[in-house]
């Protein structure tokens, strides 16, 4: 007879695993990767490669020589962080800065806390914000998107503003929204990705496609995204309703900047967001409000990254304050 195994119940296990979830996210990112390569060409390829390789390298070396634990690079989380970091920078980001960003992402924001699952803040976002604050020039000069087959794909020196940046700047000069909107790429382009911005955030459509995949595979739940998008839509909608000359159409907010990327791939990072459904609602709504506040009244044209990071800080309190409904908490009337 074989040696019997003893363990506590249950003795069977569902068939999902951390690895499957992480690689699921990577698959979900593929449409956006393709769009970014289409619009930003080799620059995007370089950024993606440098970032993910650097992230995996730092994960491997820190786990091996500093934490001295079993290798963890295979679990896929470093790859996810790497791709998402790349998604958060412009295509012309110098590699050395990107490597610093990868170091911050993995070494400071993730491994210092003990690696996967322990970090209270979203590593890729910490990396992004770190770079944004440290290298504002490089982080805010956006190459103009130009379709891969449009001819001037490789002469990517032309830079242009992001729609949100343009909006904020022009509003600052006292122009009105309808005037400014004349210069915008238009909703269809914004949806498809033909706009200035970080390589991963430009195409709302590709991101939604990926999100659908994750929803179907039950990697993410719909609560946070719905709460987040809903809040942004309602909040900006109210403002737009009050003064359409000063405040832009809510749809514009949904398809520009990093909102879709943030909503579907970062506000859903389970490690750094609340565990209960109730908590997810609060998280999403809070992030939505902060995003709008920063976008409209803050110093930065884009607020998604900051909003999520700030809500990450609130997550433990949310987890503490918004418990799932306990069975028997309130006796239902029969």
């Amino acid at each position: 007879m074989n040696t019997l195994t003893i363990s506590g119940s249950p003795h069977v296990h569902g068939d999902d695993s951390v690895k499957k979830i992480m690689y699921g996210v990577v698959y979900a990112l593929i449409p956006a990767i393709l769009v970014s390569v289409y619009f930003f060409g080799l620059g995007a390829v370089r950024v993606l490669l440098v970032s993910s390789i650097a992230c995996m390298f730092f994960e491997w070396i820190i786990q091996k020589y500093i934490i001295k634990g079993p290798p963890t690079i295979n679990d896929g989380s470093a790859l996810v962080a790497g791709v998402l970091l790349a998604f958060n920078v412009p295509a012309n980001m110098p590699s050395w800065i990107l490597i610093i960003g990868a170091f911050v992402t993995i070494a400071i924001a993730k491994m210092s806390f003990g690696g996967l699952g322990k970090n209270p803040f979203n590593p890729a976002l910490v990396g992004r914000i770190f770079l944004l604050i440290s290298f504002p020039v490089q982080m805010t000069s956006w190459p103009k998107p130009s379709a891969l087959f449009a001819g001037d794909a490789l002469t990517d020196t032309v830079t242009g503003p992001t729609p949100l940046g343009l909006l904020k700047e022009e509003l600052g000069k006292g122009r009105t929204v309808p005037e400014i909107m004349q210069e915008m790429p238009g909703y269809v382009n914004e949806l498809l990705g033909n706009q200035g911005g970080c390589i991963g955030e430009v195409s709302a459509a590709a991101l939604i496609l990926g999100a659908l995949y994750m929803l179907i595979r039950r990697i993410i739940t719909w609560h946070t995204p719905v709460a987040y998008l809903g809040t942004v839509f309602v909040f900006t909608g109210i403002l737009y309703f009050m003064d359409p000359l000063q405040y832009v159409n809510p749809l514009f907010h949904l398809v520009t900047g990093g909102l879709m990327l943030g909503v579907f791939f970062m506000a859903t990072d389970m490690v750094t967001t609340p565990v209960s459904r109730r908590g997810m609602w609060i998280f999403g709504a809070g992030a939505g409000i902060l995003t709008v506040i920063i976008r409209i009244w803050g110093g930065y044209p884009e607020g998604v990254a900051f909003a999520i990071l700030i809500m990450n800080a609130f997550t433990p309190l949310i987890n503490r304050g918004f418990k799932p409904k306990r069975f028997g908490e309130k006796v239902a009337d029969a």
Partner: protein, 332 residues
């Protein structure tokens, strides 16, 4: 003297005096009766109110100290980073906690069911905590009394004094042990006991707590105490008692004569830090069931040799292990 000087002197002194008088008045009027030791302790603290101790200010800390001293008679969990050890000693003195020296004790692990002596029959697949495994099942060797080898005791020790021996799968205590008893409390099977360190660091104890009858006990572990009572008979000082099929040596009565050690048919009695023994030719026939006295003696010798090599420094369990191994090859 210029104006500035005069104004300074007047205003500042005024502020100072007003503050002093008001404070004094308020203090008198709103006096609250408290444990006077709190004040004493507070006085002994640096009054930096830095929060470094994790409390909201020195007074709060003092209250916690007095409280802990009253309730648990120790203040080991507290530390003031500004004042350091001196301050803490001073506080301990105020609170009357200067512990009088007891007979130095040490933790001993009363199980020798190493991987070799008590081979694994079952694989445990779960969290590495003895507390849980103990609730779940009898143990990988099947011995329901034996060490589970998952190291709750190791985790409990703050003094780096107890470690797992990877080879035997048993914990070993080293001389850093301060007999705090944390491991004793942590072990769900009550395997660890605090015993007097003994003269010259020598001690003799039964390294087993199995209360099963001989047969079942031996089925799981070669070095289990089978409750045969031979040691009880041979002990000239009445130091050994037998209860529930298990011998226990009272450290107070034991004079470390070592007579019991060789008579034990299963090698369950341990001697620690003794010089090697001269081979005794007249050893009594033992082991009704085993009937292999010669091998037994050989094992005992080996064990002693092992002890010598390790200069009596290492832990009991580790040494015993070698004996166990030779046993195994002979036995099965």
């Amino acid at each position: 003297m210029n104006d500035v000087l005069i104004f300074s002197v007047i205003s500042l002194s005024a502020i100072g005096i007003v503050a002093a008088i008001v404070l004094y008045g308020v203090a008198q009027k709103f006096k609250v009766i408290e444990d006077p030791r709190i004040d004493e302790v507070e006085d002994a603290l640096p009054a930096a109110n830095c929060g470094g101790c994790g409390f909201a200010g020195c007074r709060n800390f003092a209250e916690a100290l007095v409280d802990s001293a009253t309730q648990h008679e120790n203040i080991d969990d507290f530390f003031c980073p500004v004042g350091g050890t001196d301050t803490m000693n001073a506080v301990a003195e105020i609170l009357g906690l200067s512990v009088e020296e007891k007979d130095p004790q040490i933790a001993v692990v009363r199980c020798n069911g190493s991987r070799q002596n008590a081979p694994q029959k079952i694989v445990y697949d779960g969290p590495a905590t003895c507390a849980f495994a103990h609730n779940l099942f009898a143990g990988e060797s099947g011995c329901p009394y034996g060490c589970l080898g998952l190291g709750d005791c190791v985790a409990a020790c703050d003094f780096d004094a107890i470690h797992m021996n990877a080879e035997t799968g048993l914990p070993e205590v080293n001389d850093k042990c301060v007999a705090c008893g944390a491991c004793v409390k942590a072990c769900p099977r009550d395997i660890i006991e605090l015993r007097p360190k003994g003269k010259k660091d020598r001690r003799i104890f039964v390294s087993c707590i199995n209360e099963e009858k001989g047969g079942p006990a031996r089925k799981n572990c070669k070095v289990a105490c089978i409750g045969c009572g031979k040691c009880v008979k041979v002990c000239p000082f009445d130091a050994i008692t037998l209860e529930n099929n298990l011998a226990y040596i009272d450290p107070e009565k034991c004079k470390l004569c070592r007579k019991c050690v060789p008579v034990c048919p299963t090698d369950a009695i341990h001697e620690v830090n003794f010089p090697p023994r001269k081979p005794k030719p007249e050893k009594k026939e033992d082991g009704e069931k085993r009937g292999q006295p010669a091998q037994k003696k050989e094992a005992a010798e080996k064990q002693e040799a092992g002890k010598k090599n390790e200069a009596g420094k290492k832990n009991e369990a580790g040494k015993k292990n070698e004996a166990g191994e030779s046993d195994k090859t002979n036995n099965e």
